[in-house]
Amino acid sequence: MDFRDSPAEAEFRTRLRAWLAEHNPGLPASSTDDQYWDRQAEWHTALYDAGFFGLSWPRRYGGHELPTVFDVILDEEVAAAGAPPRPSLGYLVQGISTHGTDAIKDRFLPGLISGRERWCQGFSEPDAGSDLAALRTTATRDGDEFVIDGHKIWTSYSDVADWCFLLARTDPDAPKHKGLSAFAVPMHQLGIEQRPLRMINGITKEFGQVLFDGARVSAENMIGAPGEGWRVAMTIVSHEREPGELGYVARYAKTVKELQHAVRADPTGFRADQCEAVAWAHVQTEMLRLHVSRRLSERLDGIEHGPGGSVDKLLMTWVEQAVGAAALSVSGPRAVVDSDDVALKLYLYSRAQSVMGGTSQIQKNIVATRILGLPTA
């Protein structure tokens, strides 16, 4: 058991730290400010061009084929520098890598990883949230193409996306989990309308809904086999639940650092319970950092991660919500008299963590039945 850097890791850390000192764009937190989303692509390409993104992914697609623990270093250094976290798209890379043909991988992975093509994920629908397999968007074969009709919602980054990783029903007669297929759908076309959604904290650039009305996608853009959509979706959501894949530790650590700074700057200005909330947020964030180190180390064995992602998602949710609560506590009355208060926005945004990527209730069902072996009703 060793948490220290190997020589190669230490060299990487030094190089990264030096680069961050020069190139930190100093953006506000993604969860509190539209300005982050305006410049997110710029940050992505900057990280990528400097060789600090896609660390564990294949070289052929623009990655660096490093062990996944390098992502821990990236998250730690980014947080220490107060720089924005790495873009969260590992789950899409995993979905395409696992299920796509070589042609699909060659076509889409380089642009996805470099940030030159941007993606959103079209899974949830107004009547298909937790019960994802109930989705009704259809993709109907028409010659060499499929025609898409339906309505996707709670779609992150849909306003800037070039591509949509779409889950649609291709066989209306098959049982609900078996009639789905996945596609890479070009967003820039007639037949697709994107509408922003305003989140509860006022952010408008992250969340959207997408209306498909006779949109078209080449049959070659199907990811996985026809009817394999559910498996593809499960690959993606299981990775979407992993804090190691998302890089969120950096986001939480950055906020905790700011809260600690506020308390340190005015040691007598805060009540004991406010100080305790900040200390607890720090404890939680450290737990997640170390938990991610453990998970990524376990992968050095090549262990396939299964339902453990649900444990990680629950831990991550508790961390984000503890950090959000600490921010709200430290801000005190300011949070309710100033609608632009960052702490208020952080707190409100943190409520989404127990819903996005599968609700906490779904995660607990998975832990109970697939890890603990409890019987289903």
Binding site: E276, A279, R294, P375
Partner: protein
């Protein structure tokens, strides 16, 4: 970075868990059974685990905090009634002072957070020897000296009484005479005491992780076996979600406690202490929730003396207080933060 067990650590973990399972109590009636607990104590002694922090040559311990915590985790998981951490912590302190441990344990101040500090020639307030074996006669105390701290010892003749039914806490009455310390002992430095506390935090955190694992396994088994409304209670989502939370808290605790154990000998003393505080705060809160969940899922039976779950909770309560509970750790972390600037 590779946080996995080495081959030797994995083997130790396996062996310690097996021993604890085989020789630990199986039910409340069996608690403290003289024949079994004697075998348990002998097995732990013969395995050499009490000596893990003794001098292994060149004043380095025989084993790192990681190995010491692996054993603590295994014994906690089986609520094994054997003195372990008390002896290991005594060994650690004795090594730092260049003393021979013998059968001594460490006397703690009434808060149970620090070693007992003594000025003068007798103890001036009660002290508590936590996790003593039944035969321990001596407890270490720490006396401030001109430039550092001096290791001294007192005779334990107080009786044991503890909420924890698996580990003894014996009271050293005020007025106990300090034994004259051998002149050749080295002074303990503040760094020594910080690293020693870091070890204490790592061992108590590891014990809590073990308790959480053991009590969750027991409760999951019960939820599968116990039927109401004609079905296992573990098929109800309300029960499933409680157990899923318990399991998840245990997993997070394991990750953070492992780092604290590793930090003891690897990080600077202040950073090791910080890692210990962070781990203890998390594990203590988690263990309380997990044990309370176990009682809830066991229902009426869970509230009876006969049910093993309170044995886990009681052990968790002692491990929580020993070296300070979650509230104390958060307060100290806060102090680190504000003092760091001044």
């Amino acid at each position: 970075m590779d946080t996995r067990d080495t081959i030797e650590q994995a083997e130790l973990r396996r062996a310690a868990r097996q021993l604890a399972r085989e020789l630990g109590p199986t039910n409340v009636a069996d608690l403290g059974d003289a024949t079994r607990t004697k075998r348990l104590a002998a097995a732990v002694r013969e395995a050499g685990w009490l000596e893990l922090r003794d001098d292994g040559g060149g004043s380095a311990p025989l084993a790192s905090g990681v190995e010491a915590a692996i054993v603590a985790d295994a014994l906690g998981g089986a609520v094994a009634e054997v003195g372990y951490s008390g002896a290991v912590l005594a060994g650690d302190l004795a090594r730092r002072a260049g003393a021979t441990r013998g059968d001594a344990v460490v006397a703690c101040a009434p808060t149970l957070i620090d070693a007992a500090f003594v000025s003068g020639v007798t103890t001036n307030e009660p002290a508590f020897a936590v996790d003593t074996g039944p035969d321990a006669e001596l407890a270490y105390v720490v006396a401030p000296a001109d430039s550092g701290y001096r290791l001294a010892s007192v005779r334990i003749d107080g009786v044991g009484e503890s909420a924890d039914l698996t580990r003894a806490v014996r009271r050293v009455a005020p007025g106990a005479q300090l034994a004259a310390a051998p002149a050749q002992l080295q002074l303990l430095t503040p760094d020594d005491l910080a690293q020693w506390s870091a070890l204490g935090l790592a061992l108590t955190s590891a014990d809590l992780v073990g308790v959480m694992r053991g009590v969750t396994e027991m409760t999951v088994a019960y939820a599968i076996e116990r039927r109401q409304y004609g079905v296992p209670i573990g098929s109800f989502q309300a029960v499933q979600h409680l157990l899923a939370e318990a399991h998840t808290l245990m997993e997070g605790s394991q990750s953070i406690a492992a780092h604290a154990a590793w930090a003891v000998d690897t990080l600077e003393p202040a950073a090791a202490l910080h890692a210990g505080r962070v781990a203890k705060a998390y594990c203590a809160r988690a263990a309380r929730t997990v044990c309370e969940t176990a009682i809830q899922v066991h229902g009426g039976i869970g509230n009876t003396w006969e049910c093993m779950v309170h044995v886990y909770l009681r052990r968790a309560l002692l491990s929580t207080q020993w070296f300070g509970d979650d509230g104390e750790q958060l307060r100290q972390l806060q102090r680190e933060l504000t003092d760091g600037l001044s």
